[in-house]
């Protein structure tokens, strides 16, 4: 079956009343879940998994896919409005998104993000549809050497991602790396820094850490500002639509974000989060308005948010074309298939064409559904800002606690939430940046894992990391970026 016939067939499958309802419901529920701090795509899809056993497999998968990209989009809402990312993929969105909200542009940014998510998702689906079998081979090319280059190189490049002085970025990043070593290490499952507390052996839960560092810390800061002075001006509803300039400035980030997200989605690991880090860094490097990024530029929001939705979509490639899930959400989708006796693997496209093309078609439908649902809802989200704080903030705290507990049914995650909330508050008071800390937490375990895997493979020979041409190319790019950012101020000074 060629792509066109396949897609027509897929629309035949996906456009049944039941499946259409599943896509819409999934997108809606996903957005809701994403908006709640502490509840992200993984929690949402995990909640729906037992239900999906009762549906027929295509319907279940369509609903899960809807929840996945709905939550990916929804996670940005609280990041923009309240400086509270729902999960690590929206951390970058906070920086400029919240600044824009303070300038009264919340509605406009949410609209831009909805369109960006649609663009990233849709272009990504086309890529998945046309090239899935070939793209799957791309993921296989990446081994420990290549991943070490991506994760360790990424850490080097991203250390100063959110501006500020060198120390303001490097200290929180080191703190994040240190925290990431708590718990059972990945290779031999030995406990580190757990002090005999068994529950700590699963490590610092990322969701709880992110919601604590940003959400709880933000609430503490808000409470303090309420005591110190009047609250910020509420957003006016008629300023909902982006201006012509904002649209024009978003076009290029949409394109770059799609590309970055699409490539990261093909790789294992927390690809949505990594793609948003990379996209933000890219915008800072190449955008014409790079000097405004960090102080409320639309590029800093639309790039990463387009990227994480593109990554969510292209992460279907390894699942559909290899039967190998590279992330938690796609692992859940794989489980849903296997319960129904569908054999995932390279032959899925032939043996279960209805599943393959049905999911692809539903990704199109889901993206349209997401746009159609969310543009009208922006008014609703923005009006959340008008709820009196003494009512609103306690609700957020309760939801954050429930969300953190729900991830692993563990009270330790709730303690992490509270503790890192205080840490985040103190760091902000001292003018440290928080994003590098999250980056350290995300990349630390990956760097260690890939380094040790590589050394196991080569029996201790470090050359394994530079033997592969792909790894070398990545390291060369890292060196270029580092040299570029070191030289740029010098060049600019000469010009100026």
């Amino acid at each position: 079956m060629g792509p066109i016939e396949g897609l027509l067939y897929g629309f035949g499958v996906a456009l049944s009343l039941q499946n259409l309802a599943a896509a819409l419901l999934g997108a809606l529920v996903g957005t809701m879940i994403g908006v709640l701090p502490g509840l992200g795509p993984v929690a949402g899809v995990a909640m729906i998994l037992p239900l999906s056993y009762a549906f027929d497999p295509v319907t279940g998968l369509i609903m899960m896919a809807g929840i996945y990209y709905g939550a990916m989009y929804g996670g940005s809402t609280t990041a923009i409005l309240l400086n509270m990312p729902g999960e690590s993929a929206s951390v970058m969105t906070c920086i400029d998104g919240y600044q824009l909200t303070k300038k009264g542009r919340a509605g406009a940014v949410l609209a831009l993000v909805a369109v960006g998510s649609f663009v990233g998702g849709t272009i990504s689906v086309i890529g998945v549809m046309l090239f899935a079998p070939w793209l799957a081979q791309f993921g296989i090319l990446f081994g420990p050497a290549e991943f070490l280059a991506v994760s360790a190189g990424g850490l080097l490049i991203l250390s100063r991602i959110s501006g500020g002085s060198f120390a303001a970025g490097i200290f929180p990043m080191a703190l994040g790396l240190m925290l990431s070593t708590i718990g059972q290490e990945a290779i031999t499952a030995q406990n580190r820094f757990t002090f005999g507390i068994l529950e700590l052996s699963q490590g610092v839960e990322l969701v709880a850490a992110v919601v604590g560092l940003y959400g709880i810390a933000e609430i503490l800061a808000l409470v303090e500002s309420r005591l110190a002075g009047p609250p910020p001006v509420p957003v006016r509803l008629r300023e909902m639509m982006p201006t012509g300039t904002e649209w024009r400035r978003s076009v290029a980030p949409f394109g770059r974000g799609t590309l970055v997200g699409f490539v990261f989605g093909l790789l294992p690991g927390p690809s949505a989060a990594m793609s948003s880090f990379a996209s933000y860094r890219l915008e800072k490097a190449v955008s014409r308005y790079r000097d405004e990024i960090g102080h409320g530029a639309v590029e800093g929001v639309t790039g990463p948010e387009t990227a994480n939705n593109a990554a969510a979509t292209s992460s279907m490639v390894p699942l559909l074309a290899l039967g190998i899930p590279f992330g938690s959400v796609t692992a859940l989708m794989l489980a849903a298939m296997m319960v129904h006796g569908i054999q995932p693997g390279p032959l899925l496209m032939q043996t279960n064409a209805d599943v393959f093309w049905g999911v692809i078609a539903s990704l199109y439908i889901g993206n349209v559904a997401l746009l159609a649902l969310n543009i009208p809802m922006i008014g609703l989200w923005v009006s959340m800002l008008r709820i009196p704080r003494h009512i609103f903030l306690p609700i957020i705290v309760v939801i954050a606690v429930i969300g953190s507990y729900g991830v692993g049914n563990s009270m330790v995650d709730v303690y992490v939430l509270v503790l890192l909330g205080v840490v985040g508050y103190l760091l902000r008071k001292l003018d440290f940046q928080l994003a590098p800390m999250v980056i350290g937490l995300v990349l630390g375990p990956l760097i260690e894992k890939h380094l040790r895997e590589g050394l196991f493979m080569s029996d201790g020979d470090a050359w394994v990391f530079v033997e592969s041409p792909i790894a070398l190319a990545i390291w060369a790019m890292v060196a270029l970026v580092l040299a570029g950012s070191a030289l740029a101020p010098l060049l600019r000074r000469r010009r100026g």
């Binding site: 296989i140 294992p268 690991g269 563990s410």
Partner: protein
């Protein structure tokens, strides 16, 4: 909760405790799964729990408690209130091997919990790429003998169950195939084989079947005694004279101290479920073996496997 409600709730709990012997189960049960939703243990648990609900006439809520290679969730079962209302799934390696290397665990011996049923077991398979030079298990072993420490097999972690299985083969065949850990789940060990970064892969039939069907990999051996229906051409290690047949076994267990009447009711219901045609079909479809054992027989199996793991650990520590 108002004080009045709290008193009522406490009274209810107390009453349900005293009424246990006659009317167990008097309320709904919780079934703890020590892995996240989406693992292979999730469908096993749900199948078992949904059939148990019919036998016991009560609902059973599945609670996923993932982390630390199954030890967190297993600890949660062992330390739960021993009233018969919290039970759960536990794997053989977690129950028997993990305490040998982790003295922090709350369960250190098999008397720290009560077995209810043996849910399923499944064998691992030894897989190479389709274009690899080895066509049989024997060719692979012969080649491994010629170049000790050169061949590599991807597994899901050092001292993970599939690593231990490969080490059993190393010991039985007198070879030294290096195991390379690819943690993080998600089939990264299989990707390492497909990408040609290792020579072999040790994993489950379910993770292999799709690639074998597509002709990209070849299954050389199955780590068990007797033919494996999923791969009838694979050489069973047990029949080829190699004592390397370790595979995951999943048990249902309860904490120590559950009243005997409740335990009896649970294991009787479980044995009915496991003997049912519906459960057998579920197991066969997924490549699982089913053996309907009494709690006493499971204890015998624990003793046997405990000795096997002790031996294996000695071998690993000598290396």
């Amino acid at each position: 909760m108002t004080p009045l409600l709290r008193v009522l709730a406490a009274a209810f709990v107390a009453l349900s405790g005293t009424a246990l012997a006659q009317d167990y189960p008097a309320r709904d049960l919780t079934f703890i799964v020590p892995y996240g939703p989406g693992g292979s243990t999730d469908p096993i648990s749900r199948q078992f729990a949904s059939q148990m609900e019919k036998e016991l006439g009560r609902s059973i809520a599945i609670q996923n408690k993932p982390g630390a290679a199954g030890t967190l969730g297993t600890s949660a079962i062992v330390t739960s209130r021993p009233d018969g209302y919290t039970i759960g799934l536990a794997p053989n390696t977690t129950l028997l091997f993990a305490p040998m290397t982790n003295k922090d665990l709350v369960f250190q011996s098999t008397s720290d919990y009560e077995p209810i049923a043996k849910l399923v077991s499944l064998p691992y398979v030894l897989v190479v790429k389709a274009d690899a030079p080895w066509k049989t298990l024997q060719e692979f072993i012969d080649d491994a003998k010629k170049q000790p420490g050169k061949l590599r097999a991807s597994v899901s972690g050092i001292r993970a169950t599939n690593d231990l299985t490969m080490q059993q083969l190393n010991r039985a065949a007198g070879i030294r195939v290096r195991t390379i850990p690819f943690t993080g789940g998600g089939g990264e060990a299989m990707v390492a084989l497909l990408g040609g970064r290792v020579e072999a892969y040790v994993g489950t039939g379910a993770s292999t079947a799709g690639h074998a069907e597509a002709g990209s990999v070849r299954v050389l051996a199955v780590f068990q005694k007797g033919r494996y229906d999923l791969f009838p051409d694979a050489t069973p290690t047990g029949d080829a004279g190699y004592d390397a047949t370790l595979g995951p076994i999943y048990y249902a267990i309860a904490p120590k101290g559950v009243p005997q009447a409740a335990l009896d009711k649970l294991s009787a219901a479980a044995r009915k479920v496991i003997d049912s045609a519906e459960y057998r079909k579920f197991a066969a479809d997924n490549g699982y073996s089913v053996e309907n054992l009494t709690p006493a027989q499971i204890r015998e199996e624990f003793v046997r496997d405990h000795a096997m793991f002790t031996d294996l650990l000695k071998f690993l520590e000598q290396k």
